[in-house]
């Protein structure tokens, strides 16, 4: 922008900044989505008028109940522990497999079909098998989560390795850049966006499998709670827990993943400026 244009922009922006801030919050498409869904749900509940299909307000009551008693946080903590261990293992294993597949022909051929199979197997199968094999306890969900998330991590990391900038690696060779520096300053930052994608996809898979495993083989956790509500035939209860679950996912996205991405992506051109 030329300095004259910048001056004009500053002058006009002072007056409209508040207006823009308001419209940004009110007209933010996400809030609109949220409002439309809740309103539609409310109307639908009134229209069908079945006790089993509750209005948003009644589900919200149930949510408050779960929060106030502390039950939600206890169950969340139990689920979270399984996910952190299971997904941690899946992440490490998937990264190793992905690095091997991206850099060695042999390992690519070796894992290729297993990964395709792993990507397409429903999470339910992992859940059923691990519960039958390991019984109730920490092992079943951890193994199920690790196995289910590993292929998603592996394919992303492999793509990252293949996308490494060859001319840049040539530059490193000419300048005789050491292995350690090459990994820290070239390979790791290049793989980072792929790692973030891997974490995002892998983590959602981990959650789904964790809940499934808990439905069949746990005495605590969000999945266990879902089964409990199911046995009471409480649609309200299941909806409340599902919503709480969704909120946690969003909190992790906005509170952890996006800030992490911002932190590591400081060098990137700002999107607003590009458009």
């Amino acid at each position: 922008m030329s300095s004259a244009a910048a001056d004009v922009a500053t002058a006009t922006s002072a007056g409209t900044r508040l207006g823009r801030a308001i419209s940004r919050v009110v007209l933010n498409r996400r809030w609109v989505t949220f409002a439309v869904v809740v309103a539609g749900w409310h109307l639908l509940a009134l229209a069908v008028d079945i006790d089993l299909f509750p209005t948003p307000a009644r589900v919200f009551d149930k949510i408050l109940e779960a929060l106030a008693g502390g039950l939600f946080f206890d169950q969340l903590a139990d689920s979270m522990l399984r996910i952190v261990i299971g997904f941690g293992a899946g992440l490490v294993g998937g990264t190793v497999v992905g690095l091997l597949m991206g850099s060695r022909r042999f390992w690519n051929d070796f894992f290729q079909d297993l990964i395709v199979l792993g990507l397409s197997l429903p999470g339910l199968i992992y859940a059923l098998l691990t519960v039958m094999i390991f019984g109730i306890g920490l092992t079943a969900p951890v193994v199920a989560i690790a196995l289910a998330s590993l292929p998603f991590v592996a394919v992303n990391i492999k793509e990252g390795v293949l996308a490494l900038d060859k001319p840049m690696l040539e530059m490193c060779r000419v300048y005789r850049v050491g292995r350690g520096r090459l990994i820290r300053k070239v390979v790791a930052p290049s793989l980072l966006p792929f790692m973030m994608a891997a974490i995002r996809i892998g983590f959602t898979v981990a959650w789904k499998v964790a809940v499934l495993t808990e439905v069949f083989g746990a005495t605590s956790g969000i999945g266990y709670q879902m089964r409990y509500e199911f046995q009471l035939f409480s649609v309200r209860g299941i909806m409340a827990w599902a919503l709480l679950f969704g909120v946690v996912m969003l909190l992790i996205e906005y509170g952890l993943l996006i800030p992490l991405e911002r932190h590591f992506g400081r060098w990137r051109p700002k999107l607003e400026r590009v458009i």
Partner: protein, 253 residues
């Protein structure tokens, strides 16, 4: 020619082979690059210019022949300026330079060099910026500063201005000549642009389509070299006519 050679190339042959067919890009060429000289190699696309530079830089292996680069502190230190700047986008300008710090240079000592060469290419003020915040010409200056910062025995340049607009490219050529005068850095510069080759070099090596050296001329024109200067125009016209003679000869074969 006087002075010591920093690069000696003898009977260099490069044949690319895909198992069935063979393609010879360098048929056995020899030349020396003398210390502090500015050598331009000009030739059409496919004459093996970039292959030659890549062999000198160790990115490719020759089929036959030898390349001797003078060794300093146990390693043949080479600076390379590529067609595109090849800067790491997530590192600031100064960190892009620090990235190539040789192991035997202390970080503090290297920062001294970094200041000197960023000053030399006129980029001291943008040292904390990221590459995407710089214009193409400025990025290429970073590439030059990076190459100089390792204090190479020879600075290899592979059509470094061919991606820039002509006005910026001309500015960069003048800058490069100033840097050459100030540092006495030996430069081996590759281009397909005959005018650029005549403007820059004090020696001009011309390759034909088969990668043979057809001309090896000293360019003893006064600097700055401009089109308003008759001696420059005459020399340039002479080089162009030699090129056309060469082209006709190769076509009639």
């Amino acid at each position: 020619m006087s002075g010591r050679p920093v690069v000696s190339i003898r009977d260099l042959v490069k044949v690319f082979s895909d198992g069935e067919r063979e393609l010879c890009v360098l048929p056995g060429i020899s030349f020396d690059v003398i210390e502090t000289s500015f050598v331009t190699i000009v030739g059409p696309s496919g004459s093996g210019k970039s292959t030659l530079l890549n062999i000198i830089a160790g990115l490719e292996r020759q089929t036959r022949g030898s390349v001797d680069v003078r060794v300093a502190a146990d390693v043949a230190r080479l600076g390379y300026v590529f067609q595109s700047a090849r800067l790491l986008p997530w590192l600031s300008v100064e960190d892009n330079l620090r990235f190539v710090r040789p192991a035997d240079v202390e970080p503090k000592a290297f920062d001294g060099r970094l200041n000197r060469y960023l000053e030399l290419v006129g980029l001291s003020k943008v040292r904390r910026k990221y590459p995407h915040q710089l214009s193409g010409g400025m990025q290429q200056r970073v590439g030059i500063a990076r190459a100089l910062s390792i204090e190479p025995v020879v600075l290899l340049m592979d059509e470094p201005f061919s991606h820039l607009d002509e006005i910026t490219a001309e500015q960069m050529r003048q800058e490069l000549l100033r840097i050459w005068r100030e540092t006495r850095q030996t430069i081996l510069f590759i281009t397909h642009d005959m005018q650029e080759a005549v403007t820059l070099g004090d020696r001009l090596i011309m390759l034909d389509f088969g990668g043979n050296i057809v001309e090896d001329l000293g360019v003893e024109l006064p600097r700055p070299r401009q089109f308003s200067d008759k001696a420059f125009v005459d020399f340039y016209a002479d080089v162009v006519s030699r090129f056309h003679t060469m082209r006709k000869a190769s076509e009639s074969e």
